[in-house]
Amino acid sequence: MTAQDIVYVDNNATTRVAPEVFEAMVPFLTTEYANPSSPHPFAAAPASAVVSARESVAALLGASADEIVFTSCGSESDNTAIRSALETQRGRNKVVTTVVEHPAVLTLCRFLEKHGVRVEYLPVDSRGRISLSQAREVIDEDTAIVSVMYANNEIGNLYPVNELAEIAHERGALFHTDAVQAVGKVPIDLSKTQIDFLSLSGHKLHAPKGIGALYVRRFTPYSTFLLGGHQERGRRAGTEAVANIAGLGKACELALSHIGEEQTRVRAMRDRLERGLVASCPDPLVNGDPEHRLPNTLNICFRYIEGESILLRMYQAAHICASSGSACTSGSLEPSHVLRAIGLDYRSLHGSVRFSFSRYNQESDVDAILETLPGIVRELRALSPFGRD
């Protein structure tokens, strides 16, 4: 089995590194190894690579280069933004977030609660939506920061972050969005919003793992999380990961030129898969908000059967790599917190599968899934003691 045989539809977990990205990184892993902060001319190439990567990231977001701080990953960006706000918004001791955030935010919030910070978790309805009027009620004068994800990794929901940023500002709070799943998949123009902080992660958009960025709006108060050297204009210590940064810059350039394709070709593949599965599987249940959803994500439940079984059979049948919110695949004994938060009934809860596409997918990938999955669902249902008429 080689990588060519893989039907990879797990792009919300991670993506393949684009060949152009790899090319852009090679010089900094081989000949151009100087430290970009060094004074000698040998540092010119790495230093200018960092400069132009910063511009590419900014361009994808509708930001200015000086608003971009390179970090090691999305989780670091999330941690930096939220901790920074608590540090700078003295006298305000509350964080408002949602129950469907990524663990990078939720685990941090639980930690902060132990240290006396109040956290309000906005609930979601059965489609995973939050209510703006509820947000208006809980965001108050004590709120230091509101942190709501741009798009959910599991069900693909897009959240009204622009409106939430305005509400936060009305109450004098800062606003952060974990946009790890959104950047590169939907157009983002931060110059038209009031968002203060935005986290992104390279490996979700065809850059390597180990690189992320944090957008910090100009004039937004900021407190450095990782202390040390003066890199990133004192906003994040640590010698620049030049190769990764160059890779992220290239990935953002590519993402900008392919952003239209995400809305058209990628969306069409996702939609065809969704229609095909709904038509061919018994009792399918598509999760999330159909009106406001990432174009690449399909989260679907098959009743009375269990997710790990489905994934393992799909892999055996056609090397299909997808993911599931079932407990058996999450490394815990509890199924996904997002699927529980939308109040999924337990006949469906354990049998969820998430397919997430990228521009590297082909229609043949959709064909492979449609050829194998309906049969697998039927076989596993025949094994199950539940769901008989």
Binding site: C109, E113, E306, H350
Partner: protein, 290 residues
């Protein structure tokens, strides 16, 4: 990443003996759909009631649950009840080569399903000599883990048969302790008891303050609710509202978000009560008002 032996994969991809037996002599049903795995085992005996003539199963669960159930059916066929009764969950795991430790509960589900089928056999066929599993364990019916409905008897059985020494192992073998975690102390106490150790020193948990005035007590209960209990619940999408305090009775309204599990609200109540007893006073009762 999946880490299954070829035999597990074979039994998962090509399960043997799937289905129902309409005129089964005994049926064992364990687990439930809320907790993520369940199994139904159908046993048909030879006419004289001595040997197992046919076995079929249905399983809802992950690959190792399906493989364990299917392997069990193969192991049972042709055995006398006496021979079959001696099979343990470890035998199922051995038959499959190996199960990842965190999946051992799948093999335990298999042996529990057979125990349940034996009881059913005995009830349906009093004329046969059915060796029902002896209930030597104390507290066999007491539910220790409300998240996954696991009894003390089940926990004691896996500890004894598999020589378990840690709470984590008990979780791998029964799932108990893998949800809210509220039962872990209880599991530890069972382990201590069975492994002949002194119950852990009382001093390790901070003694609840005594001699509080009524007002101090109410204030303390309120602050424990706000700083410990509510944040803990809210992180999981639940919440609790303090309605009234009357002597030792603390009345609360609970809101759970745990998959609509009937046991979940019970668990929540137990957890709130345990926390209040630990932090305020041992006499506290939590009463749920709807």
């Amino acid at each position: 990443m999946w880490n299954y032996t070829d035999k597990v994969m074979d039994y998962f991809l090509h399960p043997r003996n799937v289905g129902e037996i309409a005129d089964a002599d005994g049926v064992g049903e364990v687990g439930n759909i809320v907790c993520g795995d369940a199994m139904k085992l159908y046993v048909k005996m030879s006419p004289d009631g001595r040997t197992i003539a046919d076995v079929k199963f249905q399983t809802f669960g992950c690959a190792s649950a399906i493989a364990s159930a299917s392997a069990l059916t193969e192991m049972l066929k042709g055995k006398t009840l006496e021979e079959a009764r001696r099979l343990t969950n470890q035998d199922i795991a051995d038959y499959l080569g190996e199960l990842p430790e965190e999946k051992m509960h799948c093999s335990v589900m298999g042996s529990e399903a057979f125990d349940a089928a034996l009881k059913d056999l005995k009830a349906k066929h009093p004329e046969w000599e059915v060796p029902v599993p002896e209930e030597v364990e104390e507290g066999a019916e007491r539910i220790v883990c409300h998240c996954f409905s696991v009894t003390e008897g089940e926990i004691r059985k896996v500890i004894r048969e598999n020589h378990l020494t840690t709470v984590e192992q008990v979780t791998h073998f029964t799932k108990a302790g893998g949800g809210c975690g509220g039962c872990r102390d209880d599991i530890q106490a069972i382990l201590d008891d069975m492994n002949g150790q002194q119950a852990r020193a009382e001093e390790t948990t901070a003694p609840a303050p005594s001699n509080l005035t009524n007002l101090q007590r109410i204030a303390l209960i309120q602050s424990v609710m706000d700083t410990v209990i509510r944040p803990g619940l809210k992180a999981d999408g639940g919440d609790v509202e303090l309605i009234d305090i009357d002597g030792n009775d603390v009345k609360v309204r609970l809101k759970g978000k745990c998959a609509g599990c009937g046991a979940a609200l019970q668990t929540l109540k137990h957890w709130v009560e345990a926390k209040l007893r630990e932090k305020v006073s041992g006499g506290i009762n939590v009463i749920e008002v709807k």
